[in-house]
């Protein structure tokens, strides 16, 4: 309970800092928390806002699904063999640390502007961490687990389903949490650079119009969503015995 209280105090402190910044910077550069929430409330009563949310949400959901399924698949394939794992790890890490935004034009050239490009770009961000975590988890399954499997004379299918999968679940979850965050970031960056709909587009238009209230309202909306979703993932994560 004290933990929840502390978290509340933190939120209040953040709002206070925001308010102070607002008072220093003025209305045109940083709207006050109250105004922002009012703006967010107004936005949330318009159908257009929800259309944008749906657009971003759809792209994000697809990107996330691709990231997780693709990442787990690739990670598993690469992790099963020591050599392929060792060979690909630095490649994956390099891809991870690449500023992928520079490749966005290429994505646009391949997929055109629209849903598929956004999904592809989101998945580019999310897939690699999931693959990396999965691969490392598979490579580092305790050898004694596999020896136990042999001692119990399990079939390869049984090993995969009853030992390998549950053994790597915690790491895969950790990867999925990072994948979640980065896919969302990827989709939003994609929408900010080139798009016709979605929250990123909304932010970008608002930037073009200097409409700080909308920017902050969307920022708050996204932040609350991200923190809440991550908290949920953390709860699931903690529920996995390890």
């Amino acid at each position: 309970m004290r933990k929840a209280g502390d978290f509340l105090i933190l939120i209040v402190a953040l709002l206070a800092v925001w308010q102070v910044l607002h008072m220093i910077a003025g209305d045109t550069t940083l709207t006050s928390p109250a105004d922002t929430f009012a703006k967010l409330g107004a936005l949330m009563r318009t159908g257009q806002f929800w259309a944008n949310v749906a657009e971003t949400g759809q792209a994000f959901a697809l990107a996330l699904v691709i990231s997780i399924i693709g990442g787990v698949g690739i990670g598993t394939l690469l992790g099963l063999n020591r050599t392929s794992g060792t060979v690909s790890e630095p490649i994956l890490i390099s891809l991870y640390s690449l500023p992928k935004v520079t490749l966005y034009p290429l994505v646009l050239l391949c997929f055109g502007l629209g849903m598929s490009a956004k999904v592809a770009f989101g998945a580019m961000h999310g897939l690699i961490p999931v693959a990396l975590f999965t691969m490392k988890a598979i490579m580092h399954i305790k050898p004694v687990y596999l020896r136990t499997a042999r001692a119990l004379r399990l079939s390869p299918g049984q090993v995969a389903a009853t030992i390998a999968l549950p053994a790597v679940l915690p790491e895969v979850m950790a990867g999925a949490r990072l994948g979640f965050s980065l896919s969302l970031l990827g989709v939003l960056i994609g929408e900010m650079f080139a798009s016709k709909r979605g929250l990123g587009f909304m932010i970008n238009s608002a930037m073009g119009l200097g409409d700080i209230a909308t920017i902050m309202a969307v920022a708050v909306f996204l932040s609350v969503f991200a923190v809440a979703a991550n908290a949920l993932l953390l709860v699931i994560d903690r529920a996995i015995p390890r």
């Binding site: 305790k142 050898p143 020896r147 001692a151 119990l152 399990l154 009853t162 030992i163 549950p166 015995p241």
Partner: protein, 279 residues
């Protein structure tokens, strides 16, 4: 390699000898097939386990004890020599052999009960039978209060007991234990030894126990094999001559001291050797 060099104080209570498993001229060389560096880990070893015997292996660290177990369990193929179990040459892990590894092999994602039931479920035993056997094994291993706990909530020693229970429920005829009490302090170890003895008596299984602790070996076994530094070969077999009905109280027996001293003597030279080598 004299047998029973220490005169048995009690009459032997072993049944008439019958060969249960046999290793003949077994060696194991890691990296034997490849061009890389080879490591001669074990052998040549000759060993006969009699049915129902409690046999312990002691030897310096890294001498090849776990390798010996792997070969006997069919988890590793000997580079040379033959391994037989119940009269047949083994290929893969034979039915009727149970293994408890040196490392903690409890499945972190399953409760104690599910861990213990794991092998039975894979083997397709029916649910009522599983419940019965699992309950018995959990009780036997003193885990009743922790049946629904996860391994992370248990101490190292308790986890090792989970692994033992998981192996036991399958009712193996040959049980291979690789330092199952390594995570425990010496006192608790000896008490766990009592449980192991009870188990051995009740099931009539053949037991091969690998251990660092000389007093553990001296107290539990019918016979102790002493291994040399790597590549491990048996440099001595010591028959203890304990009755089948025995428990840890025998440590206050003078004969126990004599066995320990004998084991220690044999190992001293070997230990000095292996200590001198690299980390």
């Amino acid at each position: 390699m004299s047998r029973a060099a220490v005169a048995p104080k009690y009459p032997s209570a072993m049944p008439a000898p019958e060969v249960h498993a046999r290793l003949t001229g077994v060696t194991r060389i890691y990296g034997a097939g490849t061009s890389g560096t080879k490591l001669h880990a074990l052998g040549p070893v000759d060993l006969t386990l009699e049915r129902g015997e409690f046999f312990s292996v002691v030897g310096p660290s890294g001498c090849g004890k776990s390798t010996l177990l792997d070969v006997l369990a069919g988890l590793a193929v000997p580079t040379d020599g033959t391994v037989e179990f119940e009269g047949k040459a083994i290929r893969g892990v034979p039915d009727g052999v149970g293994v408890v590894f040196q490392e903690d092999a409890s499945f972190a994602w399953l409760t104690v009960r599910d861990n213990v039931a794991f092998g039975l479920r894979r083997a397709g035993v029916d649910a009522a039978e599983i419940a019965r056997r699992v309950d018995y094994a959990i009780g036997f291993m003193g885990l009743r209060d922790f049946a629904n706990a996860y391994p992370s909530q248990l101490s190292g020693g308790m986890r090792q007991r989970v692994c033992i229970a998981r192996t036991l429920v399958l009712q193996p005829r040959l049980i291979l234990l690789d330092e199952p009490f390594g995570a425990l302090d010496q006192q608790t170890r000896l008490l766990m030894g009592d449980e192991l003895l009870r188990l051995w008596r009740e099931t009539g299984a053949t037991v091969l126990l690998i251990t660092h602790a000389l007093d553990e070996a001296a107290m539990l076994s019918d016979r102790v094999g002493v291994m040399s530094a790597r590549p491990g070969v048996f440099i001595d077999f010591v028959a203890t001559g304990w009755p089948r009905e025995r428990d840890s109280r025998i440590v206050s027996d003078a004969h126990f001291g004599a066995i320990t001293a004998r084991l220690w003597e044999k190992l001293r030279a070997e230990s000095l050797k292996s200590l001198g080598s690299a980390p």
